[in-house]
Amino acid sequence: MIRLENVTKQYGHDVVAVRDASFDVNKGEFVFLVGPSGSGKSTLLRLLNRQDRPEGGAVYVAGRNIVDMPSGRVPQLRRNIGNVFQDYKLLLNKTVFENIAFAQEVIGKPKHVIRQQVPAVLDLVGLAGKEERFPHQLSGGEQQRVSVARAFVNRPLILLADEPTGNLDPATGEGIMRLLDRINQIGTTVVMATHDQRIVNSMRKRVIQLDRGVIVRDQARGVYE
């Protein structure tokens, strides 16, 4: 599903965010990217959805090298990738329903499909009945659930999560992890960047550890070291 071959990403002349990174992620896998702040986790995620381009190497998503992909094809790529962020990135002037529907509306899904799929995904994330609330009327955990719902509503092949529990208390964070695990069980490949040791240790999924842009460990059913 995902393959990185000798990927190097540099910011400016002297900041190397990722150096010579190579790994494969199979369809349906759940992978943690771990490491301290500034180790290159978020950069790797940005490379996977073509928000950034590497200076060297190749990034394959669903069998296609996306490094040289023409800009016009990037939207199509992103329709197969869901994104979850630490700060949720919800639109504050839209309701829960509208936030999720927005992800379908902007890619031209018909209204009747939106009316059918949004309630289903709200049910999946445990927010049924809160469709008409605005983000400021929700807790942090609920806002993150809306963010997950928005990322998942178009049924992406891959879900990228950048510190999704970073702003949440441990109990709420566990709820979000259960939700991501459930989405993974449905068949979606999940790549999650985190430095939450407790979550990584409890999930026992594959762990790729980065240190100053270099992959130093790639372990199946790993723990945070």
Partner: protein, 307 residues
């Protein structure tokens, strides 16, 4: 398709409401710029009407009396014309001359008496004088030209002999002065309007940067994101142009009504803009307004998409 269309309209309207102050500023600026452009064009046209008879270096107009209805002797009239033309051709001060027949004279009357339809209606093919428009040789002084009167006045059927006096030069200079400066002013204001529209769209995009980021991440195409912003700019330019057209129509109507009350010899009767010219300029103003809006917003929407 319908849902996309309604999305574009909804987002455009929402953006208008959010940016009301800047939007109004952009519309007013483009309206003023286009109004000045339109007025420049009208004033130029008015001056053109004033001096139309004297275009092409004509400095003397020799009027020929209309045919006497009681004496329908066309041979005598043709003989008189032949004598006049022979005299003009033989004069060393004259480079060329053209005969303005009845149709030509009626056309001139349409322009000169645009503000005085009552007088215009009194003129018919039977009573309108025809004329010779005379171009003198280079260097012929006005005093020398006055001598034409002595040569032509005794000939049969000769009416008034009119000379291009200094006011023609004055009118031409005023026309050039007014034309150049108002044109420069309207171009500058139009440029300001484009910049304001550009800035309005940039501000709108900055205010919605979070939405744009989300849109891009879920796979919206750049064009899908751009279109509501471009439509917003286009509408700003067009609304400004419609405002300018309305103001232009009002000003022209009031001017025309005012000219009709001026004394007949005011010399301003020709400075009336006919409705065909007015309509054609309004079309141009609408096109320029739309283009200014599209250019300003198109540049902003392309440049600030990566926010």
């Amino acid at each position: 398709m319908l849902s996309r269309f309604s999305y574009v309209l909804r987002e455009t309207w929402a953006s208008f409401r959010r940016n009301m102050t800047l939007t109004v500023a952009a519309i007013v600026t483009s309206a003023v710029a286009l109004l000045i452009f339109g007025l420049t064009s009208f004033v130029q046209r008015g001056f053109d009407n004033l001096v139309e008879r004297w275009e092409g270096g004509v400095e003397v107009i020799v009027n020929v009396k209309p045919q006497d209805p009681a004496d329908p002797n066309s041979q005598a009239r043709d003989d008189a014309r032949a004598i006049i033309e022979e005299t003009l051709a033989a004069n060393p001060l004259i480079e060329s001359f053209d005969y303005c027949d009845v149709d030509c004279s009626l056309g001139d009357a349409d322009v000169l008496l645009a503000a005085d339809p009552t007088t215009r209606n009194l003129l018919t093919a039977d009573n309108i004088p025809t004329s010779y428009k005379v171009v003198p040789v280079d260097g012929a002084g006005s005093e020398q030209l006055q001598s034409l009167t002595e040569a032509l006045a005794p000939l049969p059927n000769i009416g008034d002999i009119l000379y291009a006096q200094d006011y023609i030069d004055v009118v031409s200079k005023v026309k050039g002065f007014v034309g150049i400066y108002t044109l420069i002013l309207s171009i500058l204001l139009l440029f300001a309007a484009i910049l304001l529209i550009w800035n309005t769209i940039r501000t709108a995009m900055f205010a919605r940067r979070r939405e744009i980021e989300v849109m891009k991440l879920v796979g919206a195409t750049d064009w899908f994101i751009r279109v509501p912003f471009m439509l917003e700019g286009l509408i700003q330019g067009l609304v400004g142009a419609v405002g300018a057209c309305g103001a232009l129509w009002l000003i022209n109507n009031r001017w025309t009504a005012g000219v009709e009350t001026f004394p007949e010899n005011s010399g301003l009767a020709a400075m009336v803009i006919d409705s065909n010219f007015q309509f054609s300029r309004m079309i141009i103003i609408l096109l320029i307004g739309g283009a200014a809006g599209a250019i300003g917003s198109g540049i902003a929407a392309s440049r600030f998409l990566d926010i």
